[in-house]
Symmetry: C2
Subunit: 361 residues, 2 copies
């Protein structure tokens, strides 16, 4: 388990110039848990190692999924590995995550997932019944999402070199004509909408892992968002960008969009929907809900003229019933995310360095 | 490390009827190393757990890659995870394997790989320089194979829950019009060709892992076969089936084809190209080269009328220079692979139960 104290982004004032990452890759010759956290360390790994090694123009887009053309078809293509611990948690399992996570990455490009690949890395000694239950959850989630598992692979590693089951899925889907979802399309004035309560998945996993009781059971929001995105695109194909705020939470998603778009982002802290159970758990544990992973939520940057209609369509969908506007893109502080606090002040919402909660997806 | 003695396929006589697997899944409530070996146990896992759980028609084809249609394009889609130990071996690394293994799976459908996804599962504490070297090998192999890494993901697990680096790649490529490579297309009379010496990759990995010296260094044959397959398809699109004999070796590949086609397969043992260094290593270790994994070879079932021309085209390609005919498909003993021995006898070449050499890919 990583030490979370050194992985938190430090608070910093708006007027501090020349701030640099306090944990540059060059000073860390070995992989730490935070390299998998979707924050600054993850970004360094991509920018300093993977992107130079792999090259390629599609990878350089660095979206949740790659959009490419093959045989005349415009495809979204994405992959995620899943190492969640424990394998089963309130509201889902690694099998559900492996479908919904990749389906959602494709949906963030506007694509409806069509086919998944599935790679198992099994640890010697894991019960076959556990493999069966995970597989059945994966199959059921695929049917719910309307995606077909087309190809797979299984490897086994010796006991003590895995953790029961690791999964990888890759997915492909068609991107509809006229849909072009990229952070670069964000412009000042865009309205920022989230599709519901944040912080639920991470707290749900952590509660069972750490044996914590918060008075009420918190269930993961793990769900496939393809249908919700279809409903939004039916209003207008001209959405600017979608992200599912998984690792690094809403804070990381907004920061990535701000950085890539060059726009500033302002959110109103009190409008960000945090269920009281999540807020209470975070208060006890010293965590910030803005940095906790979600697996069934999205954040959208929508042109102002379409915002009301898109919000209405989202609220009409079961997975977007609690959608709300939380802020907007602005000209000020380009590349930076700022929260207006309940007390009338402002604070910078930084990209996290590593992660508060390792292995929640 | 698994006990290899109970993972060997037992010898059996041709006239023994009603033979059943000596290690059915139901008697093994936990995953053993052999479940990842590409033999009987792997097949049981697919047939008894994955296929029922996932459903789906494409998966049911159970080829090296799935062939599917999306947006009017006919695509091959495949995935493999890579858990080879050690990460670097004579002739390659896990980075090379992760490209070539998946590129070759696509090539066995006749598709030229276009895009790869890449998922890293890093173990906390692995040196970043190792991550860099693996990534550079992966990038270089991708450029050699003419495939682009389009999307990726990184997860980190705690020290003691991984083994440095596990990799997954998934790949997509276009299947040319008129190409339909499936074991079901094999008919008696088809000529069986292998593209060169077998057993090299597995022995190369094992030699460094176990610190063995065989007098000569044996280098992995790890290579991308897309170009070789293109050269073969240029002779005729009407090849019947291609397989790259990875886990389970040539024996597993031939057995899978025999089982799926319903044809019998006869090979002439003395025509199977086994380098003397591999033969010597196998003699010392009690292994059978027929069951050892290859990563840069293919086996083809070719209509008799095209066999000479296809063989000539293969020999004209650098990766097929040592191609030879090793046997043919026959009407006799449907679904069974039989080797004619140097002494004039015959022996059944079984599907292996598990694997002789775990974690060689």
């Amino acid at each position: 388990m990583s030490d979370t104290t050194d992985l938190h982004a430090p608070a910093r004032a708006l007027d501090v110039e020349g701030w640099t990452c306090p944990a540059p890759l060059r000073d860390r010759p070995r992989v730490v848990m935070g390299h998998g956290g979707g924050g600054v360390l993850s970004a360094e790994l991509v920018q300093q190692i993977f992107a130079p090694a792999f090259g390629g123009e599609v990878l350089a887009q660095l979206g949740d999924s790659a959009v490419l053309t093959l045989g005349g078809a415009r495809l979204a293509f994405s992959t995620d590995s899943y190492v969640v611990r424990p394998l089963f948690f309130p509201g889902g399992s690694i099998g559900d995550l492996a479908v919904n996570g990749t389906v959602n990455d494709l949906a963030m490009s506007g694509a409806r997932a069509a086919y998944l690949s599935c790679g198992f890395i099994l640890e010697e000694g894991v019960e076959l019944d556990v493999v069966r239950r995970v597989s059945e959850a994966l199959g059921a989630a695929a049917r719910t999402a309307g995606v077909e598992v087309a190809t797979g692979d299984t490897k086994v590693v010796e006991a003590g070199h895995g953790d029961g089951i690791y999964l990888n899925t890759a997915g492909i889907g068609l991107v509809p004509a006229g849909v072009d979802l990229r952070p670069q399309r964000v412009v000042p004035g865009d309205v920022v909408i989230v599709s519901g309560a944040i912080g639920v998945h991470g707290v749900a996993v952590m509660s069972v892992r750490e044996g914590l009781e918060f008075g009420v059971e918190i269930k993961s929001d793990c769900a496939a968002l393809g249908g919700l995105v279809d409903a939004m695109l039916a209003v207008t194909p001209d959405l600017h960008v979608l992200r599912d705020p998984t690792r690094g939470g809403l804070a990381a998603a907004l920061n990535e969009i701000a950085a890539a778009s060059g726009a500033g982002v302002v959110i109103r802290e009190r409008d960000v929907p945090v269920p009281s159970a999540v807020a209470n758990a975070c208060a006890i544990l010293g965590l910030d809900p803005m940095y906790i992973a979600n697996e069934g939520k999205l954040v959208a940057f929508v042109p102002r003229e379409h915002a009301d209609a898109v919000l209405e369509a989202m609220r009409a969908h079961p997975l977007g019933a609690n959608s709300v506007v939380i802020g907007e893109a602005v000209e000020a502080h380009p590349g930076m995310v700022v929260a207006r606090t309940g007390l009338g002040g402002t604070r910078v919402v930084d990209l996290p360095i590593g992660e508060q909660l390792p292995r929640i997806c």
